[in-house]
Symmetry: C2
Subunit: 249 residues, 2 copies
């Protein structure tokens, strides 16, 4: 995934992301495209900037596009059979979302922005066209599906398992991956944390406070926080060890 060929030089201006120099190119869908194909891509892709809680797409929308996340975090909400709201996954920088649309299927979830988000909107028609010429793109697409599937299964295993405290610690760990390298993360509203971990917002609040008292979390502005990676690792290890004890008796 390190650059295959970049620096094709000073690609002239367009209004769109200029994939050749895009900051997520190496991990992006069109990372493998060459010259002319890449040029055509650039005229059809549109980049969009959204702010917190804006809707990218939702169930029922006629899906004609997929999106690459250039920055920010996207959450996927859906309602359970019982009607409650549940967040089933989040996507971050480099992820490709809305894959259902490539199969002419309606979107399954509602995709919403956590904080400001930048996207590339990619028409499905463009991908269909390119895929016929560029075999590598097909493989890349399958890879995206697989990556998404892995994220979903990991969500089941790590964020939907065990006591609330453990789930919270794992969420912080996941948020750290999506956040800045200095540990700054986007911390959702308590109610959203609840929807991710299947908790009430009160319990989510108590856990956030607990993390704060323990020095794992440091709340800065309303929706931003800093994670102490070291303390998080220690707390997680302690929590996991405890679980192992009772399981190994």
């Amino acid at each position: 995934m390190s650059a295959t060929k970049k620096e094709t030089g000073k690609v002239p201006p367009r209004q769109n992301p200029m994939c050749a120099v895009c900051e997520v190119r190496c991990s992006a869908l069109f990372g493998s495209l060459k010259g002319p194909a890449l040029a055509r891509v650039q005229s059809e892709i549109e980049d969009v900037a959204l702010s917190a809680n804006e809707r990218i797409y939702g169930p029922g929308d006629a899906g004609k596009d997929v999106y690459t996340v250039r920055s920010g975090m996207v959450r996927f909400e859906r309602h359970t059979e019982g009607g409650e709201l549940r967040i089933v996954r989040v996507a971050g920088r480099g992820d490709l979302i809305g894959l259902e649309a490539l199969l002419q299927r309606p979107y399954n979830d509602e995709a919403l922005c956590c904080g400001p988000v930048k996207l590339c909107r990619i028409p499905c028609a463009l991908i269909d066209k390119l895929a016929d010429e560029q075999g590598a793109l097909r493989r890349e697409l399958m890879l995206r599906w697989q990556t998404t599937l892995e994220a979903s299964e990991a969500w089941v295993a790590n964020l939907a398992t065990g006591p609330a405290r453990r789930r919270m610690l794992r969420l912080l760990s996941r948020l750290s991956e999506l956040g800045l390298p200095d540990g700054t993360i986007w911390l959702p509203r308590r109610e959203k944390i609840g929807a991710m971990l299947d908790l009430t917002f009160e319990t989510a609040s108590r856990l956030v406070s607990q993390m704060r008292r323990e020095g794992v979390l440091d709340l800065t502005t309303p929706r931003l926080a800093r994670v102490n990676a070291q303390a998080l690792r220690e707390a997680s290890a302690a929590q996991d060890a405890e679980g192992r004890d009772s399981a190994t008796v």
Copy 2:
């Protein structure tokens, strides 16, 4: 540990499922293939019959095949970051499993048989070859990935959310889909139910007993049961209504 090196050449031409008349053909991967391609497929596919708890593949295995489930039920186990066992998904008749292998990736989970299972083992090399000639197959593959992803997200929303009783009711509902039309289902051991729903086996047992007393479930042989679809729907509706009440206050 089941056979990994097959296809040693002298495979008799006639031992395979005959896709053209296979009972799952319409929903199967090669449902769209025509004449000659189909004939070639039949000489390379091997059908396997496994019994309860046999391992189909596991993390670390060199993935060289994918499998179509012809009958029975397959569960996917993995360990959480804390080391506990968790079942993250199940597959049934018509499902294609082990898709990671198509991307030369190691399998993510351990795939195990619930009860007797019949599979078609399909070499990845065969799919790669066919995909170059038959465009429809590529689309079919993507559809499989998407279907699997949807199943995984539904698992999060329905089997990992809410009180234990609701999760159990939803599990029964899901097992019914995979079972016979007369309501006969394969009911896992209590410990496995726990691994699916994130419960202790005692709680799983209590819930099974409860379902039985309510007439939702009727245990026959050790691992088989019959579901009263009507009673299950009613119990689910009641459970969901209750949830909605407290949520809507």
